[in-house]
């Protein structure tokens, strides 16, 4: 099911860098906003630089980032409802959930 609220926030943003850590994923977009996703330990996810966000889907703890080029990345959220944070360049909260 599409997470419309999060999709509305990050749709069209281009991945500038993506860092995968043992328990979180940090994506920096071209507008210098940052998305941090707390994931279950040991999860591997690869996100290509330059990929453009199309939509975000959620199925229970599974969160999928869909890109305009047809690719997708799925991560397992550590604590659904409290694992994803998007902050603007200024640090302002754009999305928490």
């Amino acid at each position: 099911m599409r997470n419309q609220k999060l999709t509305n926030v990050i749709e069209g943003r281009i991945v500038r860098s993506a860092t995968v850590e043992p328990e979180r994923l940090v994506v920096v977009f071209d507008d210098h906003s940052t998305m941090t996703v707390k994931t279950v330990p040991g999860l591997a996810a690869a996100i290509s630089t330059g990929a453009k966000i199309k939509a975000v889907l959620e199925d229970a703890a599974e969160c999928t980032l869909q890109f305009e080029d047809g690719s997708a990345v799925t991560v397992t959220l550590a604590n659904p409802g409290a694992s994803v944070a998007v902050r603007a360049r200024s640090g302002a909260v754009e999305y928490l959930g």
Partner: protein, 212 residues
């Protein structure tokens, strides 16, 4: 800093929860111990913050009702409540959600809404520490109500009709208020009770020009 604050919160919560005897109008501490986002005071005191972060997917709502054994046909008797309010950093995790009965008088959802508004104002005014506010509400929100709002709400058909008749319900999102007996009195998602005089003083307007 945020991690330290969160760890402190968790530790305080553990000691408080274990010491309090539960009542029906309080959530099960095993299912709903309370959970917070990594946020700052500046975040939560920004106008519109709560609306930005309010997002509980259907599967989480269903999970909460299931966990509490609420029959799907009886969900209308409850409001899915954020134990630690979004307005002071509470998260949308199942650890922070519970089905709050509407009719647990005097400790129903309206009283909790009133507490939430009060605590948010105190925190943003620098009169109450954020972590302390979160911990107090998670431990026992009725105690927090007594501490920060006052005595439990007075029953509606009760001994102080004059006070109730002059109480209005303010939709804090729209800035309009309804009078006792009006259709939306106490029923909008965001709002709080206050006297009509206070509502007018704070710039709120009667809904539809009359409040009816």
């Amino acid at each position: 800093m945020r991690s330290v604050s969160k760890a402190f919160f968790a530790l305080c919560l553990f000691w408080n929860v274990s010491a309090v005897a539960r009542q029906p109008y309080l959530p099960d501490p095993e299912l709903t111990p309370g959970d917070v986002f990594d946020v700052t005071l500046a975040d939560i005191c920004t106008p519109g913050y709560s609306k930005t972060v309010r997002a509980v997917p259907k599967y989480l709502r269903d999970q909460v009702f299931r966990n509490y054994g609420v029959d799907p046909h009886h969900r209308g008797h409850y409001q899915l409540d954020h134990l630690i309010p979004l307005a002071i950093g509470g998260s949308n995790s199942v650890k922070n959600l519970w089905p709050q009965p509407h009719d647990a008088w005097p400790w129903g959802s309206r009283a909790k809404d009133r507490l939430e508004g009060r605590v948010h104002r105190l925190v943003c005014a620098g009169k109450l520490d954020l972590a302390t506010a979160q911990q107090e509400i998670a431990a026992d929100w009725t105690e927090a109500y007594r501490k920060h709002v006052g005595a439990p709400p007075v029953a509606k058909h009760r001994s102080h009709p004059t006070a109730v008749e002059h109480e209005v319900w303010v939709n804090t999102n729209s800035g309009k208020f309804w009078r006792h007996g009006a259709r939306y009195f106490g029923k909008t998602k965001h709002g709080e009770f206050m006297t009509e005089a206070e509502a007018l003083h704070r710039g709120y307007k009667p809904a539809g020009g009359t409040g009816w």
